[in-house]
């Protein structure tokens, strides 16, 4: 180890070799291509399985902790704050309030969407304050959405429900 330090006036950095998309497409660099195909089946677990099965019946199920008195959506089998098992299952309303929203012009791969999707965090009526889920809004123009807007779930017809969060097609403004 050297003793005493030479005076480097500016911070050190190393130049990498920058490439463009063209370099890859025209095979100007050496590279290897692979498309891994891995399949998964995710089990929904104790709490969320019940939640999804209740969605199939057109109801939103929540869990309650009698210690902190929170009614929690999405439901869990243990209260993460009190760190104890939940005490009971309760139903909450299929109405709620928009906590925040975004008008998305991109899909999961960041490809542009022709029609924007309105995504929102909706706090559910009947659950504790701020207990929300992420979902999409419909039957409303992007410019008409506002934070604090009351919304109601629009369910798929019963025979089309499959026990998924998409059993609620979207949430629409609750008028009057």
């Amino acid at each position: 180890m050297a003793v005493g330090k030479k005076d480097i006036s500016a911070p050190p950095y190393a130049e990498g070799t920058s490439l463009s998309d063209e370099d890859i497409k025209k095979k100007k660099v050496t590279y290897v291509e692979d498309h891994p195909n891995i399949r998964y089946s995710w089990t929904a677990g104790q709490a969320v399985s019940k939640f999804l099965n209740e969605l199939k019946k057109g109801k939103i199920a929540a869990t309650k902790c009698n210690k902190c008195r929170r009614i929690m959506v999405p439901p869990r089998v243990f209260c993460e704050l009190c760190y104890k098992p939940i005490d009971e299952w309760v139903y909450v309303e299929d109405t709620g309030t928009v906590q925040t929203f975004s008008i998305s012009y991109i899909d999961p791969d960041a490809k542009p969407l022709e029609e924007p999707v309105i995504v929102a965090v909706i706090s559910i009526d009947g659950a504790s304050k701020n207990m929300g889920i992420m979902h999409v809004l419909g039957e409303v123009k992007p410019e008409d959405v506002y934070i604090g807007m009351k919304v109601k779930a629009v369910w798929k017809p019963e025979d089309e429900r499959e026990g998924s969060v998409t059993d609620i097609k979207y949430w629409k403004p609750l008028e009057g």
Binding site: M1, A2, V3, G4, K5, K6, I8, S9, A10, P11, P12, Y13, A14, E15, G16, T17, S18, L19, S20, D21, D23, I24, V29, D34, P36, Y40, W42, A44, V48, L52, M72, V73, P74, R76, E80, Q99, T100, F101, S102, I103, S104, Y105, I106, D107, P108, D109, A110, P116, V117, V119, A120, V121, N130, M131, G132, M134, H135, V136, I147, V165
Partner: protein, 419 residues
């Protein structure tokens, strides 16, 4: 609320809101074996796509850090590697894959990962190694190669969502930022114009950074008129995906004394995670950052961060995030950060320079390797080695911070050039 005048951050204070905060951190105990100094750092250029592999990038960054400290690899006792999701690389055991490039073979080596927070979490892990006395010299390396996943790393990002509750809705990662940004703007009545100023400032700061990917002079109008992604987020509100690497060297005091007269000391570290149930939180305030900052400030004996911090590198993957994090770090009151930005307080020649490096918005966002513009930059600023980027005011103490996972983790390091 009145605060007891003799409050020494212990349980003797019963009045006012401070009591709860004091109690929450009173359980934190640390018995440091030795102080920790930073004596060298290095980084590579950040680019959208680099030809070099992750190993080669790590090697380049480490070489620069060793050169600045005038050390050899044989002087390094232990190595900490930080790198983000394996899905970018399509390669598991990424820590092991990067081992040789990061100089970790035949010595204690570990990889740490907390999403975007890794860039500041890796130096925290380096701090444990030295502060505990297990190592006198610890090398910290952060590497990211996001371009392997193509055409866009967003396709790999979608796997951070809950597979059962979130993914059926076809989410894009940008959604969480857009939702958080909109909530923040709504609660404090903040205009997009004020948030865009951060992007303007950081991209201009990056003009002085030789590694910068997106340094440019832009205007607020450019940001507001850029392509909509997930409104309120537009193209120029976002930092770009990048390839790159960064490294820094942490040593014990007796080693630091041999190397330099002016080491930079790590005086506090903190980290915290908030619940994964992010739709159950009010997103307007980053509590995870506030908790992490509280821990770091306590360790560094900082009671008034706005006055005691001279320069800051808050994590800025999005322009609103710098403001959000300034408030979490206690550098601004809630809702006050946009005002400080508008008044030029956070400019490089301001009273509280924020992201003088150019940040992620200007230099680039290779997830973990952003250590180069956060922890490394803070070291260079406090060592007066930042060259053209050196802030105008005299600096003693600074803070850097990163953030990641599902709006969950805050990682904070406080440094000072006075021991």
């Amino acid at each position: 609320m009145e605060i007891h005048p003799n409050c020494k951050w212990n349980s003797s204070c019963f009045r006012g809101v401070m009591v709860m905060e004091v109690e929450r951190i009173s359980g934190l105990k640390f018995h440091k074996k030795q102080d920790v100094a930073i004596v060298g750092a290095g980084m590579t250029t950040f680019k959208r796509r680099l030809n070099e592999t992750g190993k080669e990038l790590s090697y380049l960054a480490v070489k620069q850090a060793l050169e600045e400290a005038e050390m050899e690899l044989s002087d390094i006792e232990m190595v900490v590697m930080g790198s983000a999701p394996d899905a970018f690389d399509g390669l598991h055991m990424k820590g092991e894959y990067l081992l040789d490039g990061s100089g970790g073979s035949d010595r204690p080596y570990m990889r740490v990962f907390v999403g975007g927070g890794t860039g500041v979490f890796a130096p925290i892990a380096g701090y444990w190694h030295v502060a505990s006395g297990l190592a006198d010299v610890c090398l910290v390396v952060c590497e990211e190669k996001m371009s392997s996943s193509h055409p866009h790393p967003q396709s790999a990002f979608k796997y951070i969502w809950d597979p059962i509750l979130d993914r059926p809705l076809n989410p894009n990662l940008i959604w969480i930022f857009a939702l958080e940004m909109n909530r923040y703007m709504h609660v404090h009545n903040i205009k997009h114009e004020d948030i865009a100023l951060v992007s303007v400032k950081n991209k201009a700061n990056a003009l002085d950074h030789p590694c910068a990917q997106l340094a440019e002079k832009i205007t607020v109008e450019d940001v507001l008129n850029s392509e909509p992604m997930a409104l309120p987020v537009r193209r120029l509100d976002v930092s770009p995906p990048s390839d790159g690497a960064a490294a820094l060297i942490m040593v014990a005091p007796h080693i630091a004394r041999q190397i330099t007269d002016n080491p930079v000391w790590v005086t506090g570290v903190g980290w915290a995670l908030d619940t994964t149930m992010w739709t159950n939180r009010d997103l307007y305030f980053p509590r995870y950052v506030a908790e992490a900052a509280k821990m770091a400030y306590k360790m560094a004996h900082i009671t008034d961060p706005r006055k005691e911090i001279d320069v800051a590198e808050p994590y800025d993957p999005f322009d609103y995030k710098e403001l959000h994090h300034m408030e979490g770090l206690g550098l601004a009151k809630k809702g006050e950060a946009p005002i400080l930005t508008r008044e030029g307080v956070t400019a490089r020649d301001g009273d509280l320079p924020c992201s003088p490096s150019g940040g992620l918005l200007g230099v680039g966002n290779p997830i973990a390797a952003t250590m180069g513009v956060k922890a490394c930059e803070l070291y260079w600023q406090l060592a007066y080695r930042a060259g053209k980027r050196q802030v105008a005011k005299e600096v003693t103490t600074g803070v850097c911070q990163a953030w990641g996972d599902l709006m969950q983790v805050g990682t904070v390091v406080v440094m000072s050039n006075k021991r």
